[in-house]
Amino acid sequence: MNSQFLFSLISGIFIGGVAGYLGSLMLSKRMALVGDALGHVALPGIGLALLFGLDVSFGAFLFLLLGIFLIWLFEIKTSLPMEALVGVVFVASLAIGFLIVPEPELLEALFGDISKVSFEMMIVSIIFSLLIFLVINRIYPKMILANISEDLAKSEGIKIKKENFIYLLSIATMVALGVKIVGSLLVGALVIIPAATARNLSKNLKEYYLGSVVLGILSCLFGILLFRLTGILAGPSIILTSTLFFLVSLIFKR
């Protein structure tokens, strides 16, 4: 087992865990596809990073910030639902991304390449994952309340816009880290599937978010091991592992 493999495994575990945690808030918000959309928004950034030989997560993050800013701007200017705005930004980015990403690296941009995870990148992934975890942990009850009813949350003095912004920024950070592991097309699945599985299995919040985190970690762990054993692409391997857990959860649904 070489050390590079270990770097990617450890990064995957941290990112998978925090993606699951974020996902547990996304489902209840009926925003399940935001992670997906943001993954695509990252694509032009990945393309530029590849062109100029920069780290893809860095490029992705810059474009995610731009994407969030645009969505926020459109939201102020129009009264369209969030999903529609996200949709517009998402397809536009995808189109631009395809034009920018150099063809030989298209596969890497879309499905990730864990063989590029360096020691430094692992450290960065661990630090940011823990940071996101701490931040989300703080706003978790407020977000849940806002999901239940915005009015109720407001009547408790919760600043919904602020909490939403923090949440969106956390997702963007996670997506920027995640594109390296599973690529821009599949990063959304890292968020959605573990949480969906956990929901099938849980009867209270604690089980739900712990389950999401554990399933996110297990998906990345087994997915990357599967990649190691069989040589199939790591990104799809992780997502399929995750999907398998989901299918099994349907049997035990409570």
Binding site: R30, I148, D151, G157, N204
Partner: protein, 266 residues
């Protein structure tokens, strides 16, 4: 009853260029039960939200904290810094359509609002959920703690609508508010369930000297529970004691002929 707890003067609320509330002025005294009546779209919910401070408005809304020395536990973290007099308002919204989608126990729902376990148990007690008998109510040491832990562990989605409504009322009571705002508290509950919700309100009002503002379509409540009623259809059409609420006034309010017992929910 005594001191004025809420004073509203020339209240105007607009949304997207449309006037929703037009020049409302009224007062509510401590310990009163004010029911707010009106047809759909009359601005009842908007009025409650405006009073809560979550919608922008023009005019004056003045909450005055009632008789201080009742030894209410003042929580360090007050949730509404925008109310300088620190009146505590509990709010029960009209519908919570998403809550049953979220895997959450009753206890966790209470924990979203910071509160001690002791307070939660007191509240469960006063909303009458001790009548809930766990299937294994046998000869255990403490019956009290058994039902309490049982209901607290229950999934919100598994509650009956009557139980859920009680939980919402209880949730609004966390932190010992002096005022309760209720938005159609009995939508979707059968008649005996409705009765018990109103009995509960009356009980809480007496126990805790609450002032209650209640939006309802249920005219029988107005006659039973209310000390005052406000008829609203964008403008204030009447403000009176319930017995002055004649069929004439109601026809004027809802349009068409209405007798109070012919009321139906959508």
């Amino acid at each position: 009853m005594g001191n004025i707890i809420l004073k509203v003067e020339d209240l105007n609320v607009e949304s997207e260029g449309e006037r929703i509330l037009d020049n409302l002025s009224f007062e509510v005294k401590e310990g009163e039960v004010l029911t707010i009546l009106g047809p759909n779209g009359a601005g009842k919910t908007v009025l409650l939200k405006t009073l809560l401070g979550i919608l922008p408005y023009k005019g004056k809304i003045e909450w005055t904290s009632p008789t201080q020395g009742r030894g209410l536990p003042l929580h360090g973290k007050t949730s509404r810094p925008d109310h300088p007099k620190k009146i505590k308002i509990g709010y029960v919204p009209q519908r919570l359509p998403f809550i049953k989608d979220i895997p959450m126990s009753v206890g966790e729902f209470f924990k979203l609002k910071v509160s001690s376990e002791k307070e939660v148990k007191e509240i469960l007690n006063s909303i009458g959920l001790k009548d809930y008998n766990p299937p294994t109510a046998s000869s255990h040491s403490s019956f009290y703690s058994e039902w309490a832990s049982n209901i607290l562990a229950k999934k919100i989605g598994d509650l009956s609508s009557g139980q859920f409504q009680r939980i919402l009322v209880g949730w609004a009571m966390v932190g010992n508010p002096q005022v309760l705002l209720f938005d159609e508290p009995t939508t979707g509950i059968d008649i005996s369930g409705q009765e018990s919700i109103y009995e509960l309100l009356e009980k809480l009002r007496k126990e805790r000297n609450l002032t209650i503002l209640l939006v309802t379509h249920d005219l029988s409540i107005v006659y039973k529970l209310a000390t005052n009623c406000l008829c609203l259809n964008k403008k204030m059409l009447c403000y009176s004691v319930p017995k002055e609420l004649t069929s004439e006034r109601l026809s004027q309010l809802y349009g068409g002929k209405i007798k109070f017992y012919q009321h139906s929910h959508e």
